[in-house]
């Protein structure tokens, strides 16, 4: 199997995912097309060489429906011959797009593929695309479905992460994200989003609250206690009966934010890079996805990381930098415990708690953030990872070139 390389990546800033969010007036296909245009222009790319545009999307319905990858190709004026598709693995859709692109390159089926992702959560609310897992009583009853927030609280309860632990982590995420922006660490990869008449709508992540501290976080109310009372807590207890109850400790402040955004990465073989005269920035060492208990749901990161490490014949100590999606603070704290990762080594530029989690786009955004940081610190390897709905985890290991 030959290697797949990351040649470039670019992303939009993340806009608040509500009606007054800066990106709300931009359609998801337009948002994704702007990213594709930027990726093309930055690399002076002859788009007729692109053999697929794989788009991750978490709610592929309505204006995000029906192979938005192909729609974005047409909207971005890529060559008509470029096909496009859409893939879904909940929160890791964007990283799964990268992994599928890498598989196409490694297998020799393709030379050059765009992996991307998009989510306009202000226009297509999370959950819009339904799904048997959560909403078909036959399955939901059988597997004790609970919403993700309940799972996050369940993890915190089982592993003894208190409200303070979660809030402390969340405050650090805000500070790190604010610091990263003020240091200009994101400048080379975040492109401004324009409106129809060419004005800039958004240049920087809109949701960050740099002034956030433990005190302000402490005032927020737990979000999922009410849902728990409807029956979800007891559904979870039937599966985790060692617990007296579920401590509802996640709030809007220590969970990921709802935002709009898109991102893309250019993935190709060594040969195509040489032919085009572009330099690979990182090699994709391995990819993995795995299933875990759907009720606890968000514990996939560690097992998927271990599988990816095994596939790359690497050990935990071979990884210099970790980037795990901050879906909920408890998910990251658990992962740090399980793989023995110090806080200094993970999510060093903050994460979704500060900047938001545009479901289908987050994976490819994290990949880019990790790669930029490897370059900035002159480090070698990074493991990018997300917890995933319905009990899964997805991981990708990259090595700077």
């Amino acid at each position: 199997m030959r290697d797949a390389y990351i040649y470039d990546h670019v992303r939009t800033p993340r806009g608040k995912g509500r009606a007054d969010g800066a990106l709300h007036t931009v359609s998801p296909v337009n948002l994704l097309a702007q990213v594709l245009v930027s990726l093309r222009d930055r690399n002076e790319l002859d788009t007729s060489l692109v053999e697929d545009v794989i788009a991750g999307c978490g709610s592929p319905i309505g204006e995000q429906g029906s192979a938005i990858g192909r729609s974005a190709v047409l909207a971005a004026d890529y060559a008509e011959t470029v096909p496009g598709q859409q893939i879904h693995r909940y929160c890791s859709s964007g990283l799964e797009a990268v992994n599928l692109a890498a598989a196409k390159i490694s297998s020799g089926q393709s030379e050059l593929v765009v992996a991307c992702g998009v989510e306009s959560m202000s226009r297509i609310p999370i959950g819009s695309s339904g799904g048997a897992w959560s909403s078909d009583p036959e399955l939901a009853h059988k597997i004790h479905y609970v919403p993700q927030g309940i799972s996050a609280d369940l993890i915190a309860t089982i592993h003894g992460f208190g409200r303070n632990d979660l809030d402390r982590y969340a405050a650090a995420s805000q500070q790190r994200a604010a610091q990263a922006w003020s240091d200009g660490r994101f400048d080379s990869s975040v492109m401004p989003v324009h409106d129809e008449i060419g004005r800039i709508l958004l240049e920087k992540d809109e949701a960050i609250r740099p002034q956030t501290d433990l005190e302000s976080l402490g005032k927020l109310r737990p979000v999922f206690a009410g849902l728990g009372e409807l029956g979800f807590d007891r559904q979870a207890i039937l599966k985790y009966p060692q617990l007296e109850n579920i401590e509802h400790s996640h709030t809007a402040g220590n969970s990921s934010g709802i935002v709009d955004g898109a991102g893309a990465a250019l993935i190709g073989s060594a040969e195509i890079g040489a032919a085009l005269g572009i330099t690979p920035r990182a090699r994709i060492r391995s990819c993995a996805s795995v299933g875990t208990d759907p009720t606890l749901m968000l514990t996939g990161p560690a097992p998927s990381a271990r599988i990816a490490l095994d596939k790359a014949r690497m050990g935990r100590s071979d990884i210099d930098l970790f980037e795990l999606n901050e879906a909920f603070a408890s998910v990251v704290l658990l992962f740090m415990d399980e793989l023995d990762i110090p806080h200094e080594q993970i999510n060093v530029n903050g994460g979704a708690i500060a900047m938001g989690h545009p479901i289908g786009a987050t994976g490819v955004m994290l990949l880019g953030i990790a790669l930029d940081e490897l370059e900035r610190q002159s480090l070698g390897t990074a493991l990018v990872n997300l917890c995933v709905g319905a009990g899964m985890g997805t991981a990708t290991i990259i090595e700077r070139q």
């Binding site: 007891r234 985790y240 009966p241 060692q242 007296e244």
Partner: protein, 479 residues
Amino acid sequence: MSDTLKSANSMNNTEFETLHYHVTDRGVAIVTIDVPGRNVNVLTPALHRELGDVIGVLAANESVVGIVLSSGKQGFIVGGDLMRIVRYYEMNRSAAEAYEQSRTFSRVLRRLETCSKPVAVVINGSALGGGLEMALACHYRVVTNDESTKLGLPEVTLGLIPGAGGTQRLPRLIGLEKAVPMILDGTLVDPAEALRLGIVDAVSNPDDLLDVAASWVLEQGTPLQPWDQKGFRIPGGSKLNDMNIGRLFQIQTARIGAKFRHNYPAPVAALRCLFNGSTVNSIDQGLRIESREFSALTRGPVARNIIRSLFINKRARKFRKDDADKSLVDTCKRVYDEEGQRMLAEGLASPLVRNAAWAAGMEDAPADLAEVRQSPDPMNIDFDFESLKQRLLAIQSLAAAELWAADQLDPVVADLSTLLGWGYPSYTGGVLSFVDTMGLASFVAMCDRFADEYGDHFRPSGILNARADNNESIYAHEA
């Protein structure tokens, strides 16, 4: 009598046993259901058959303009013949056979609503279960204003679901959200509430009911249900491309899971009927889905257990809570509490034991769990939850079975005492139905296994073993 109802020839047709009819001068066939030998109308196989037959006769009669269904008794129809459900279980029918049987009445009602003549129904008193389902299959419903009248589908409280279109027609009539409490919880409504919900078209004083129904047939009667009209949509929406519908099913699934603790198959079967039935575009397909679910429940033990103990035997013995065998209840409570203490002594944390009791369906947790100081370790998953649940029930059933084996305990009294006077879970049918459902030999074998693992207090006595070896069963079973 008003002009609408006048009939020169007031002779009743009497070829049927469970109903009779006459046709008014203006061509309204008034069908009166009057099941012989009963104080109230219940749905019997004869009534199923004859209702189908009379529809055929009247639909073919060109002088009949439309039909009014009514009751010859004080109430309308208060459900089905419960003894039949118990007998069906004992018969051990194949899935295909059970399905065909469950289709019978459902097909009759479908024929009723598609008979091409307008059908109105006079609900002169309580219409429950199959009675309300029959009314829902009519094109127009008028109900008495008598406030003591109840309308509803209480089948889930019997371990069943509505099996003659109730889970399909009610949501198509009033929307999924309003249908949920009636179908999943068996909530009953009075006439005013039924009108507000849209279950009936009119409320009338008892004297005018027939006239209102017959007038509707003559003046407005359309022989077409809303759901048989082109472009029909369920009010309030259906299908998962509507987020509100997704949320409804998520929350109801969680509520049902928590309320029934995964011990009762009926509520979740009802939920599947609502979901799958509202997702298919044809009511005929919805009715098939419902029949499949209904037939599966009649083959499982839970409906049999609930019906045999809490309806048939309770009524036959006129058993009330106060009649509970106090000494048996004390024995059950004692061995149950002791088992809880044993679990703590085995090193299990009290929340786990409490949750096992709750999940098994016990009303109360074993006593004195909270006083034992044991710090729960949420990471410790070294336990077999199913065994814990089973032990807490089995230890009580063993105590009762020993008394039964020594001819000191009547099974009916044992079951009703533990259900009504103690808090043993109803899905089992009671402390000895638990044994009966499993089979005495399997129960004794399970206790032996528990004895090997958890101590000799689970060891069945020689006499109980002997009766198990003898292939005896606690309740007499019809061949």
